[in-house]
Amino acid sequence: MTRPSAPVPKTATEPQSSASASASASASASASASATPLLEVRDIRKTYHLPRGQTLKAVDGVSLSVMPGEVLGLVGESGSGKSTLGRCLLRLTDVSSGQIVFEGQDITHLGERAMRPLRQRMQMVFQDSYASLNPRRRIGDLLAEPLRVHPGPDGRKRSHAAITARLHELMELVSLPLSALERYAHEFSGGQRQRINIARALALSPRLIVADEPVSALDVSVQAQIVNLFTDLQTRLGLTYVFVAHDLAVVRQISTRVAVMYLGVVVELGETDAVLHHPAHPYTAALTAAVPRPEVGAPRAAPLGGDIPSPIARPAGCRFHTRCPAAQERCKVEDPALRPVSQGHFVACHFPLTDD
């Protein structure tokens, strides 16, 4: 039996200081909001071919950019393609067409070997905190693996002491006791397991984290803790998030900008409160109205009828016209393109809503 973490080594402070220095450097870089996006996707599509010649267009032409230091919230109902898009951004799923540019480099067709050094700078946190952790390995072992696989900042293999020091630093970042490193995944509650997943994503000091529904499996009282942890880590380490979630209130809490997806496309994109409080797309309006407020007697709009159509047989014209309360003839034939309604606020609708 080999135990990955020995007693606390004396050298623990040194790599810690260098790590925090690099963290603050990237934080200041994000503060000066450079004009070059950290991640940019242009017209990406992901098509799955099904039996009997059917095709499922999970992502059907999405273009967006993620600026360093911002949090982009991806919202939409199940089947809207938000998770597929999240996976495509990190090339965990290969796109069918389009272009993905990370830190100025086109990574769309990079091979696995060429991708590997880049993987250090982009990480993912998944919804199911239990399924993401190998139940037969200790947490310390799980967290050490990326540190063993990837070389250190000096290009050489990390030493055992450096790895241990980094593990301790990670536990401190996610507020777990050091004893957690010796335990197994099943010994933790859901919130703690999600902390471990976040720690693993942070292990290699990434710049970008794609979090796919990271809090939706958690209880309300624990959910707030993890949302706060995401916020704290972002300010502390200057991280950039793509935050995929269906809970609008959580997305609002954490996001700088929000992209609303419906059947594989972005139908509205803009600053969080501009989109959620002054929605221009009828779908966004219906989505925000449908969220039950924890207030008795809160005004209630008539719910949107029907279900999200199957992505296999998506409606012609505007994808939303089958459920849209304001659909007109034009919507049934012409697919609206994403266009600006105001500074930084885009909508894909022929008849966008206005405030008055």
């Binding site: 933790f188 989505l287 008795v296 279900d307």
Partner: protein, 420 residues
């Protein structure tokens, strides 16, 4: 008979008293549900809220007689129209289940059999309880599906569960539950697996059931928003015990238990200013084996002090805006400065005989209907009302000056969870 008009609100539909469900573990009996009591009136909607492990589903399963693990001990009383459900033989329970009490589950995919059409499954339930021909049963099935808002009900009845969307499956599930016109519908997280737009449709459907079918609903959920929109009365469970109970409007306006207050405060707001950080509750609910001696919420509570830790957990005491009823007896109802006007019926609230509604039209002094299992109200230092517009929720210790010594203001939300 459920079809007849309820004669008077005098006899509530379901009276649960001191319901306990204990399971054997390591030579001890561990209570999963610990002395839960509530009353559900005719055509009432009662919300059972709590986090996972709080015992809300176990309570429902116990009422339905669906718990039969070896060694489980169910005690207490649950009177359904005067009939004791606890300890009722399976044979008699089978006559009640489906006909008088029906249940819908979170995941309609696993609740239906995948190998039969949904129409077949609904027909079967109707024919199990009533002497009807196949054709009559199918006609009722199609009518029910239509009433639940299923498009093209005759065709849909011939479909298999996997051919339907989640929202349609849940509608079919509700149609099946209502097929014998039950007096009580137990809905266990009926909308948790659904998208918000579909959730809104299903909640509207559930709200309409009492006027169209005269059903009472026991709604189990973890979502405070769903409760606020749907339920007349709310029961908050924490770690197997009732933390607080009361009329939904009173409970949301003036939570009496710190857990209720903190839970409400930790929900990120969709409107208004965005807080820098959410007022989260530190730690996680205790596992039944590790439940503390006194108040189960004490290790996570901002108001914890010595009496909270003593052995018998605090009993339910009157709380909320009507807690100090004697002093306010002479005061007029209008003097109570609260946003919710008392005599305004809530939209969709058509039941006149329900105790909850009746309670609302009585004078304030008679309405000490809100109870919290907390020492604060008894000590004369209840929580401040939860007001919509004050930015930091009432869960924050600095919100009141006269509170017992609050816990040191730890960076609560980032601290490790205690029972590690």
């Amino acid at each position: 008979m459920p079809a007849e008009a309820p004669p008077a609100p005098a006899a509530p539909l379901l009276v649960v008293r001191d319901l306990c469900v204990r399971v054997p573990s390591r030579g001890r009996m561990i209570p999963l549900v610990d002395r839960v009591s509530f009353t559900l009136g005719e055509q009432d909607i009662l919300g059972l809220v709590g986090e996972s492990g709080s015992g809300k589903s176990v309570t429902a399963m116990a009422l339905m007689g669906l718990i039969d693990s070896p060694g489980v001990q169910i005690t207490g009383s649950a009177l359904f129209r005067g009939q004791e459900l606890v300890g009722l033989p399976q044979k008699q329970l089978r006559r009640l289940r489906g006909r008088e009490i029906a249940m819908i589950f979170q995941d309609p995919m696993t609740a239906f059999t995948p190998v039969y059409t949904i129409g077949w499954q609904i027909d079967e339930q109707i024919r199990a309880h009533e002497r009807l021909s196949r054709k009559q049963a199918r006609n009722r099935t199609v009518d029910l599906l239509a009433a639940m808002g299923v498009p093209d009900p005759a065709q849909t009845a011939n479909r298999y569960p996997h051919q339907l969307s989640g929202g349609l499956r849940q509608r079919a599930m509700i149609a099946m539950a209502l097929s014998c016109n039950p007096a009580l519908l137990i809905a266990d997280e009926p909308t948790t697996a659904l998208d918000v737009t579909v959730q809104a449709q299903i909640l509207e459907l559930i709200r309409s059931l009492r006027s169209t079918y005269g059903s009472s609903v026991l709604l189990i959920t973890h979502d405070m928003g769903v409760v606020a929109e749907t339920c007349d009365t709310t029961l908050v469970l924490y770690s197997g015990r009732v933390a607080e109970t009361g009329p939904t409007d009173a409970l949301f306006a003036h939570p009496g238990h710190p857990y209720t207050a903190a839970l409400l405060a930790s929900i990120p707001p969709l409107e208004g200013p965005r807080p820098e950080r959410l007022p989260a509750i530190a730690g996680a609910p205790p596992a039944p084996l590790e439940r503390p001696e006194g108040c189960a919420f004490a290790p996570r509570c901002s108001y914890v002090h010595a009496p909270c830790l003593h052995a018998p957990p605090p009993p339910l005491v009157p709380t909320g805006r009507y807690a100090s009823a004697p002093r306010r007896a002479e005061a007029d109802t209008q003097a109570v400065p609260l946003p919710a006007p008392d005599n305004t019926p809530r939209p969709g609230n058509l039941s006149h005989g329900s105790p909850a509604v009746q309670a609302r039209s009585e004078p304030a002094s008679l309405r000490a209907a809100q109870f919290a299992a907390c020492v604060l109200p008894a000590e004369g230092t209840p929580l401040p009302p939860r007001l919509k517009d004050t930015a930091p929720g009432p869960g924050t210790p600095d919100a009141i000056g006269h509170a017992p010594p609050p816990r040191p203001p730890s960076p609560s939300s980032t601290i490790g969870e205690p029972h590690l």
